[in-house]
């Protein structure tokens, strides 16, 4: 294996893992997705010529991780009654009734076009410009979608709260 590729793996693997995990929320799936993505990058190349290596690699990682999502995640689910996430470990199963877990599931139910900027905004090491390059859309559109995602989540959250206490 070339030194250049090994160097890229050293630089980006941890971030790639975090991106995969943010979408899949499963250690094994995330690790497999990272390996699959790196294998593709190794065979197809392209990262060496990329203007922004980090954005290029994260975009490739996101696409690989999406392929591993269960099909039902693409369907916009209802606010409250969502099945437990595929492959949740026992620890997460135990806290699935908590607010945090409920929010996780609501995020997972968002359409991908809203979920992607929302999840990537959690990475301090990615600038909004990089998120725009990753999504291949203008920076302004990223901000708009991010705002829409937060508003949509808030609407669903309070709608669910209202149903609970009614």
């Amino acid at each position: 294996m070339s030194d250049a590729f090994a160097g890229m793996v050293e630089r980006q693997a941890a971030l790639m893992y975090r991106v995969a995990y943010s979408l899949l929320r499963n250690t094994h799936d995330a690790e497999d997705a990272v390996q699959e993505c790196l294998l593709k990058l190794y065979r197809l190349g392209g990262w060496q010529d990329a203007v922004d290596e980090q954005a290029f690699v994260v975009r490739a990682m996101w696409r690989s991780a999406i392929d591993r999502l269960p099909q039902r995640s693409f369907v916009e689910a209802t606010d409250e009654v969502l099945p437990a996430h595929h492959g949740l470990n026992p620890e997460l199963q135990a806290v699935k009734s908590s607010n945090e877990e409920r929010l996780h599931r609501m995020i997972d139910a968002l359409p991908l076009e809203l979920r992607q900027p929302l999840l990537l905004s959690g990475f301090e090491d990615l600038t909004s410009g990089q998120i725009a390059r990753i999504m291949e859309i203008p920076e302004g559109t990223v901000r708009t979608r991010l705002k829409r995602a937060r508003e949509e989540l808030k609407r669903r959250w309070y709608a669910a709260e209202e149903r609970t206490y009614r």
Partner: protein, 182 residues
């Protein structure tokens, strides 16, 4: 209440974005990626075999001893046939290999036009300079091919005189310039 939700959302997003990578992940991935790498021979050998087979199939008609062109040679005018100079052979003619193979677009004949629109057809022309004729092939039936190749052949045959089209095989015709009388 709204602030509570925003805080919870930020906390949740931060948590998802900062998952701890398993210890030794990078090393393990580098090793597994290297192990999964396909040796070059696995990729190139099937491709080379496929290319060789394709080439053989494409060139086969030109090496066949029972090729229809062999029969045509006997009917050709003497000046179109290159005699053997080697005395060890008898005087039978031999066909030279194609000097040039060219794929040209020829306007379709009215019989194959659709809705009044002209359709470009690909006709493969093989020239045999020493024999002074052109072999034309396409997927069309001979009658259509004659019309297609006729125009295309004019581009290649020197002299631009009238041509004679002889069907020699299904989907193959021979285009020969008609000798002008002095």
């Amino acid at each position: 209440m709204s602030e509570d939700f925003d805080d919870l959302l930020d906390k949740t997003l931060h948590e998802r974005a900062h998952a701890e990578a398993p210890f030794g992940l990078t090393q393990r991935i580098v090793q597994r990626t290297a192990a999964k790498r396909r040796p070059a021979i696995v990729v190139w050998m099937p491709l080379s075999i496929a290319a060789a087979i394709l080439l053989a199939v494409m060139m086969w008609p030109h090496f066949r001893t029972d090729h229809p062109l062999q029969n045509e040679v006997a009917r050709m005018p003497a000046q179109l046939v290159e005699p053997h100079t080697d005395s060890s052979h008898n005087s039978s003619a031999r066909i030279q290999k194609p000097m040039m193979m060219k794929t040209v677009s020829a306007p379709a004949s009215p019989s194959v036009s659709l809705g009044g629109k002209r359709r470009e057809k690909q006709v493969k022309l093989s020239t045999f300079p020493s024999l002074d004729f052109i072999e034309a092939r396409s997927a069309s039936v001979p009658a259509v091919l004659s019309a297609e190749a006729g125009e295309a052949a004019h581009e290649l045959i020197a002299g631009e005189g009238p041509i004679q089209v002889i069907p020699i095989h299904i989907q193959t015709i021979q285009v020969t310039p008609i000798q002008k009388e002095n």
